[in-house]
């Protein structure tokens, strides 16, 4: 059981770049770990630190308190590239609970939904308004599938099954285990 995900309000962090790939979110050289936890310190590592490991003062992620900024607003086609689930693990461990973009890559979306990190794809006009006010509060409401900020309300869609799992705090492996009779019947029929 995970904690149920219903709605929350937090400040945003804005990374306007398009096509932020999972190698940016967590570089491959850190993937030799065999653990899921503790990857937040590596999130956007090469954006946050220089070659000597010093903070990059220009990177907005170094200028925020992660627990107060749980909504990452990012440019189009977020999460493209490698299928590494380490990417949502790192973002969730860093403190994010939602990623808002105008387009989010398929595998990243599937991975994020299994880790309490909500992928929120909204229309371009709403995204522009949201990105124009970095650091302000927004509310991500999974019950109503709405993102609210200022006077704006942007609708988003989430796969109904994934939404149910998040709202109830259940994960999908348990549900899939419940289909074993059907899986065995399929194997008997076809294989």
């Amino acid at each position: 059981m995970a904690d149920p995900f219903t709605s929350f309000t937090s400040r945003t962090v804005v990374l306007r770049e398009e096509n932020i790939d999972t190698d940016q979110i967590i570089p491959a050289r850190f993937l030799t770990t065999t653990e899921r936890g503790g990857l937040g310190k590596l999130a956007f590592h090469d954006w946050r630190y220089d070659a000597q490991g010093r903070d990059n003062p220009h990177c907005v992620l170094n200028r925020i308190a992660p627990c107060a900024h749980r909504i990452l607003v990012a440019g189009h086609n977020f999460g493209c590239g490698s299928s590494r689930e380490h990417a949502p693990w790192a973002l969730a461990d860093f403190g994010f609970r939602a990623v808002v973009s105008t387009g989010i890559a398929d595998i990243f979306t599937a991975n994020a939904l299994k880790n309490g990190l909500l992928p929120v794809a909204i229309d371009q006009a709403s995204w522009r308004d949201l990105a124009a006010r970095p650091g302000e509060n927004a509310t991500v409401d999974l019950e109503t599938c709405e993102l609210r900020f200022g006077n704006h309300v942007a609708k988003f869609t989430v796969d109904p099954f994934a939404r149910r799992c998040l709202l109830d705090g259940v994960d999908t492996i348990g549900w899939l285990m419940g289909r074993l009779p059907q899986i065995e019947a399929f194997e008997g029929r076809v294989r």
Binding site: E17, P27, A28, R29, R36, I107, I173, Q182, F186
Partner: protein, 462 residues
């Protein structure tokens, strides 16, 4: 029962693997025939099984190899203790759960997407998954093959199934013929440049047309491999005589081969089958390609100028808007990976390098995709051509494509790479990556700048 509706290749494979179709409130339960695992994306999945007291339900349907974190030096010295312990972890997990591993002692070990087809594990009409986005490679055989995350690796281990929504379909028809000296990699880069890195999101691509069916299996694998660089879930090519001839006699090919081959031929999309989207590409127009930016859709023809649309990417790459792409000086050349680490790729590189010397400013690494590729290349003496040219001939692995085993490009250096991704830092922090074909990479190694391979290939082929 035959369906009255004409169906696409994808739909035939999808329908045949539905344990339960999707409904509004739940995804389909899709059966997985072949599950491939490697050391990087599997340990946390085995950990979940352990935490829940679950077993691997069908260990005979999962195959493992070592490729990502593994050293490619002859001494087999790891980049870190953590990399070595990750490999040990996979060995342990495979032993504990009865999973076949093509490990260090195996003659079959290789990059997962090179090895599985070689062994005949990848079959037309099957569903193939792996915790690796380049799993789309296997679609070259008419399999539905796609990358999954580690949670889903756990799902497959525990149930042999995945929860999936049915993707959309996109048909890419490549008409005409590729010019001499232009290969599958150039075609893949041209398709990605036409559609953009997000152009295939939510879709399974079927590649078809004269130029696709003229490709050999290795070329088809190169094209399908890069489907993820369009954002596509998978890429597929209908099985034909080329596919069947390639599979015949492979270790895991079906015993009743002729009957299986007849079923495979029937997988082709029916006349009148509907795709959600269609595009056409003209093969004759494609020239040798090289990328200038930090996304795989930035391929341009060699001989043209770098566009000025993305300052961040230009600055990162050390390129200037309007410069000739050939004027970019090259420090490293990498020939290998699941995109271009097969025997035909190495033969092409050898044709360019034969009797010539790699530029003094270039470090050239040639990394076979598998032990089998390495053996075959050495049997033909290709390694001697590479070594005589001044290139390194290394052990099989992912190597400098993902740069997590210590094979890295130094900050600010520019690599011409036959791999699949040119993202910032992909080949090492601050490394600059230009994606190109094996022929272009080899020609660039000789000249020390990005170079058109055609003069060398023409000379080689008389």
């Amino acid at each position: 029962m035959p369906s009255p509706q004409p169906r696409t290749l994808f739909e035939k494979v999808w329908d045949a693997h539905l344990v339960e179709p999707e409904a509004q409130d739940r995804p389909a339960v899709l059966y997985v025939d072949l599950h491939l695992i490697h050391e990087v994306t599997s340990p946390q999945a085995f950990q979940v099984l352990k935490e829940r007291g679950l077993k691997v339900r069908r260990p005979g349907r999962t195959f493992a190899t070592l490729d990502h974190s593994t050293p490619t030096n002859n001494e087999r010295s790891y980049v870190s203790e953590e990399a070595e312990s990750q490999v040990r972890k996979l060995e342990e997990n495979c032993r504990e759960h009865g999973i076949a591993l093509e490990g260090w002692d195996s003659d079959n070990r290789g990059v997962v997407h090179v090895m599985a087809p070689e062994l005949g594990l990848t079959l037309p009409g099957s569903v193939v998954v792996c915790g690796d986005s380049h799993t789309a490679t296997h679609g070259a055989f008419g399999a539905l093959a796609f990358g999954i995350g580690t949670s889903e690796v756990g799902h497959v281990l525990a149930t042999q199934c995945l929860l999936q929504r049915r993707p959309k379909t996109l048909r890419v028809t490549v008409d005409g013929k590729l010019q001499p000296g232009v290969g599958a990699k150039d075609l893949a880069l041209a398709i990605i440049a036409a559609l953009g890195t997000g152009g295939g999101t939510g879709s399974v691509v079927e590649y078809t047309g004269e130029a696709i069916h003229a490709l050999d299996m290795e070329g088809r694998m190169t094209v399908c491999n890069m489907s993820i660089e369009l954002g596509a879930r998978a890429g597929m090519i209908a099985p034909d005589a080329t596919t069947i001839a390639w599979l015949k006699g492979r270790k895991h090919a079906p015993k009743d081969f002729d009957a299986a081959a007849a079923r495979w031929t029937a997988l082709a999309s029916d006349d009148g089958a509907q795709f959600d989207r269609e595009i056409h590409i003209h093969a004759d127009m494609i020239e040798p390609m090289a990328t200038w930016g930090t996304t795989p859709d930035t391929g341009i023809a060699i001989g043209t100028n770098v566009p000025g649309e993305n300052k961040r990417a230009l600055d990162y790459m050390g390129m200037e808007a309007g410069q000739r792409i050939e004027d970019a000086a090259v420090d490293v050349v990498f020939i290998g990976s699941c995109t271009n680490g097969r025997l035909s790729d190495l033969r092409t590189a050898a044709a360019v390098l034969r009797g010539r010397k790699v530029s003094a400013r270039v470090r050239a690494l040639i990394v076979p995709g598998s032990e089998a590729v390495k053996r075959a290349a050495e049997a033909e003496g290709l390694h001697e051509i590479f070594l005589a040219a001044g290139a390194e001939w290394r052990q099989p692995g992912c190597s400098m494509c993902i740069a997590m085993n210590g094979d890295i490009v130094a900050p600010g250096q520019l690599a011409v790479s036959t791999s699949n991704r040119n993202f910032e830092g992909r080949q090492g922090p601050g490394a600059r990556t230009v994606l190109a074909s094996p022929a272009t990479a080899a020609a660039s190694a000789l000249e020390g700048h990005i170079a058109d391979p055609r003069p060398y290939l023409e000379a080689a082929h008389g």
